[in-house]
Every structure is written in structure tokens, then in C-alpha cells.
Symmetry: C2
Subunit: 335 residues, 2 copies
């Protein structure tokens, strides 16, 4: 089937979902924040081919799974991960609830405002995010989100999600794909807001997960969060754990970091059948941030995009999205 025919068929299927007329559909662009170009065409083409009956690349609906990294792929990850901000903001409450925590050297360092290494930050997160019931932690995240603001734009975090990626999520779902988050961050941190922020339910979030412990408290069975990591989604763990937990390999994978997305993008792209691997290149210092050594960008401890991953992606046929050139709007609040 030709690409034009694919796109018409895609537009028609989008139609049905929204109940528009055929005439209106011809004018409907499902990705209006994306500039015309190779990246936009590749995404539309992938969706069309995998969802058009009779196409050699047709994928049955039960196998239509797309996985998205969160930090740097669905929302801003600079100048620090939002989860780290949450952990630092709620550290005082955690110490108040459990004063013995001050004896922990990482907690003491954080309270003294010393800069922490990445492993120390992870240890701190596991500590702060444990000791309570799952319901109490969920509420704590929801409460924090009510007042949390991004330091640069002073806006609530829901505004820090990328409009072009929201459009991709909706496009995929309108075409029978189920959208998942595959994050190195904590599943328990993402679950309370993923439905509202991204339209993604908690059972479709694969994240680093802390073990729960069944306890009888005041005669009532409870599940208590522990500081022990059960599934660690850092590095190759992201794709290892996704496939282990869901028993399926995504058809489409979206990420941005050499440290935490490279193996997932590589594994998905090399799996049988038509697959889509999309890597977001943060190269727009004016509208967002520019970082990661690919293409001579400044290095960053967060979300690094190496030249090696860039070259691998080009060689394997990933879609590499320049935020500067590929997106005409990044945030919904932009004019």
C-alpha cells in the first residue's frame, strides 16, 4: 500500500474515533505540533502500516503496545528529575515521622544540603518513599503535586509535559495501541498522576519498584512500602523488566537517554516485524534545554545522549527527533 493510501486510511480511522465527517478528516493533522519532515512522516507511516488490515506489517490489536520513557521524553527532566525534587521536599516530613532516619549518612548529607551522587539520591528516594501504606504514599504524591512548580517556568508539573508527545500518545491510542510508561523512576511516584497527565493507567506503568510487605496493623491487613528495590529499571533493566513483567515486547519505544533508554530502543528496533524506536534529542536551549554530547551538545549528568547512541540510532533506523527542528510547539502554554 502506498504511503498516501496509508495516510488516508489512517485519517479515516482517526475519524471514526472522533465521529467527524470524511471531509473534515482530510484536514485533520493528528500531530499539529510536529513540523513536516522525516520524523513526523516516520511516525505516521508506522501507525498506518501496523494498523491497516491487509498490510504486510499489520499488527493485531492485542500486540499494539507502545512504551514511553518519562523524564526527558514525556516531560522536562532538567534541571533535576521531578522525583528528586519530591524526595527533597518531603525529606523533612519523613524525618519527623521517623527521627531515627537522621542517623543514616545519606539522610544527614541531604539535610545538610550537601550535593549527593546519583546512587546516594536513589538510596535517599528509597528511604523517603518507604515505611507507609501504599495509600498514604499515593496521597503524599498527590498533595505535593498541588503546590510543586518547575523552577524555570513556575508552572505546575502537568504543564511540563511535551505537547508533541501528548499528540503521539493520543494518535497511538486512537489506533488501538495501548500506551505504557517505562521509566527509571519509581512506579509508585508516577502512578498517582499518570492517568491525569498522560491518560495512562497505573497497570501500564513499568518503573523501578520498591518491595511491598504484607502486615497486619491494628487487626487490618496492609501493604507497607519497604526501602528494598524489587525491579530496577536503570540501564538495560528498563527493557529486561518490561518484557519480564508484561511478557510482550513493545512495537514502539520512545526514549532520550543513553544511560537508561539505549538498550530498550535497540532491543525493540531489532525485534521481528515493523518496529519504531524514537529518540528525543534535547537541542533547543531557548525553548527548553540543550544537553547530551550527541552532535556536540553540552554534557549533562541527567539524560545524557551520547554521540555513540546517535550513531547507533542512525545506523539502525531509529527516528531521532531534534526538538529544535522537529517541534513547532513544545508546551501547551506556548502561543
Amino acid at each position: 500500500m502506498s504511503l498516501t493510501k496509508h495516510l488516508l486510511s489512517l485519517a479515516a480511522s482517526g475519524l471514526l474515533a472522533f465521529g467527524l465527517t470524511a471531509a473534515a478528516a482530510a484536514q485533520t493533522d493528528p500531530l499539529p505540533s510536529w513540523n513536516e519532515g522525516a520524523a513526523k512522516t516516520a511516525i505516521l507511516d508506522f501507525v498506518a502500516r501496523t494498523t491497516t488490515a491487509g498490510d504486510p506489517d499489520f499488527v493485531p490489536e492485542e500486540e499494539r503496545i507502545a512504551a514511553f520513557d518519562q523524564d526527558g521524553t514525556l516531560w522536562v527532566e532538567q534541571p533535576q528529575y521531578s522525583q528528586i525534587q519530591f524526595v527533597l521536599d518531603t525529606l523533612a516530613d519523613a524525618v519527623k515521622a521517623n527521627p531515627a532516619l537522621v542517623k543514616n549518612p545519606v539522610v544527614a548529607a541531604a539535610l545538610a544540603k550537601r550535593a549527593l551522587t546519583e546512587p546516594e539520591l536513589i538510596e535517599l528516594a528509597m528511604i523517603v518513599q518507604s515505611g507507609m501504606t501504599i495509600g498514604a504514599f499515593d496521597q503524599q504524591v498527590r498533595d505535593w503535586l498541588k503546590t510543586a512548580r518547575h523552577p524555570r517556568w513556575n508552572r505546575p508539573l502537568i504543564d511540563m509535559t511535551y505537547l508533541p508527545m501528548q499528540e503521539v500518545l493520543k494518535l497511538l491510542r486512537a489506533n488501538g495501541y495501548r500506551t505504557f510508561i517505562a521509566t527509571g523512576g519509581s512506579k509508585g511516584f508516577v502512578s498517582p498522576y499518570s492517568q491525569e497527565f498522560y491518560g495512562i493507567p497505573p497497570e501500564q506503568i513499568a518503573g523501578t519498584a520498591q518491595q511491598l510487605e504484607f502486615q497486619i496493623i491494628d487487626g487490618r491487613p496492609e501493604l507497607i512500602r519497604t526501602p528494598h528495590v524489587a525491579t530496577n529499571n536503570v540501564g538495560a533493566g528498563k527493557i529486561e523488566n518490561f518484557v519480564m513483567i508484561y511478557g510482550r515486547t513493545p512495537r514502539a519505544q520512545f526514549g532520550n537517554s543513553s544511560a537508561d533508554d539505549q538498550q530498550a530502543l535497540q532491543y525493540v528496533k531489532n525485534s521481528p516485524g515493523l518496529r519504531l524506536s524514537v529518540a528525543i534529542l534535547h537541542d533547543d536551549a531557548k525553548r527548553e534545554y540543550a544537553y547530551g554530547p550527541a552532535q556536540g551538545l553540552p554534557d549533562s549528568p541527567i539524560g545524557t545522549f551520547s554521540q555513540e547512541m546517535y550513531d547507533l540510532g542512525k545506523k539502525e533506523g531509529w527516528v531521532i527527533v531534534s526538538m529544535k527542528n522537529g517541534w513547532n510547539r513544545i508546551f501547551s502554554f506556548e502561543k
Copy 2:
């Protein structure tokens, strides 16, 4: 709403799913293998209340999740778990592929046909089920199922599933519930047949899971099964891991074993809102097996149902199903 009204409403909703007329529906029993009685009524009532708009116990569709233990709840677990049969049947192939395995004392004991303890059997399973790609293991299970037979009935394993439970799975799905397996067995073992046997897709199986390892083999990225347990679904682990992975508590939980289902049944039943916990009592030695010390049945190392769990279930309002009295047919091949 009265129970009669509930049941009429339930019948009507079942109707829509199958496209029957209202007259036909009045005669349609969604649980024909269940004898009339408290257990059948409780299940029908739960489904009606939680799916009837306007009912105080109405549950939105995204929260309609039901979790089923497999061994002893969905299919026969005596005289030994089918997975153990698989492990023993494929041990020779594993040793052929990796001769160094004979040095492992558990492998040596199994090869010498010595009886193994439960921890030894688990260790043996982890060894036999590791070292290959996920695709190769999946194929191994599928191949084994082609010839595997239950020793008592000499029938393929799909015939060893309980007809009354197949009816419950279909009833729940026809009413907007998603059905999950929550097994102490290996997720990787259950995934290859769960869709065919139970209509349950791999992403809805929570089982004991072995870590996968990303490796580049002959220039190609692969996920290799390792002998390390990432999530252990034994005992309280079943409910701990289910809630950790999916971020939701089931509305309905089905099990049969004090060792591996008690905490899940207890946690679900005590969670807010109307919940259903169903425990299957194996008390029919003639048509199936009778075991587990509850109600004076013989003890068994597999699927034990203690008197303590029986009393707890009665106190908390679980539905305890006597297979002997509750089910008029157990298997689909019975006349």
C-alpha cells in the same frame, strides 16, 4: 436494588454481549456447572452489584480487576504441579545443552530420581528454565504441551482446567472485568498457553519471575532468562507483587491454598468497597481430589487448605466453594 433486580440487570448486560433477545436471556444461566446455593448466588450478586450503574457498590470499568490463582483454582494441581512435571521432563534436554549442570547437587539428585524438597524443586526449576532466550523458552513450553498428559486421566492439560471456573472467567469478562492470573508458578511457564487455556493474555499474568539479561549475541540484542528470581509470588508475595506491579488491588480474588493464597484473599476482602474473595475447597476424592486439613480432609504438601484459613474465611465473609457440593461438573469432558 434487590437481588432479583440485580440478577435481571446482570442477565440483560450478559445479553448485550452475546446479542441474544431478552426472552432468551431469562433462560440463560452464566454458571451452569454451579449448583444453586450460597456460593453461586454470592458470585452472581457481586457481579451484579459492582456493574449496575447507580448501585452504591458500582465499580468503574477501569477498576474491575479479578485475580485467579492457577494451580488448584483454575486447573488440577495433584498429584504434582504441572510445572514440576515440565521441569522434570525437560531436565535431560537442559543437561544436554549445558553438561556442567550435572555438578549442581539438585540437578544430580533429580537425575538420580531422588525425591526433592519444595525449595530444591524451585531451585531446579530456576536452573532448567534459564540460559535461553525468552523466545526459545516459550517454544519449549509450547512443544512440551503438545504431548504432556495428566497421569490420572491421560488427557492433555487444557482438559484439566475447571469448567466452573472457565464460566466465572467468561462471566466476569462479559461484565467488563479484566481477568488476571496470580500464580506462585513461573510467569514464563504460564504465558505461552494462558490465552488459549483461559482467555488471559500474557500481560495479565503475575507469576514468580526470573530476571532477564540483555545481551548482544552475534551482533543481535537478546533477552536471556537467568536463574535469579526477581519477583517471588510465594506466600504473601502473591498480593505484594500484584499490587506493586499493577498498582491496583483486585476487586475479586480466587485461590485455594493457605500457603500461597491466604494473604491475598485476606487483603482483597478487607480492602474498601465491595470485594469478593473465593476459596476453593478440594473435597471431592471421586471426581477430583480431596486434600488440605480444613474440615478434616487429608493433609497434602501441595495446595494445603488449613482449618485456620477456613475459619478466617468464614469470619470475614469469603465465599468458600465445596467442589463436591458446589459444582455439578468439574471438567468439560464429563458427561
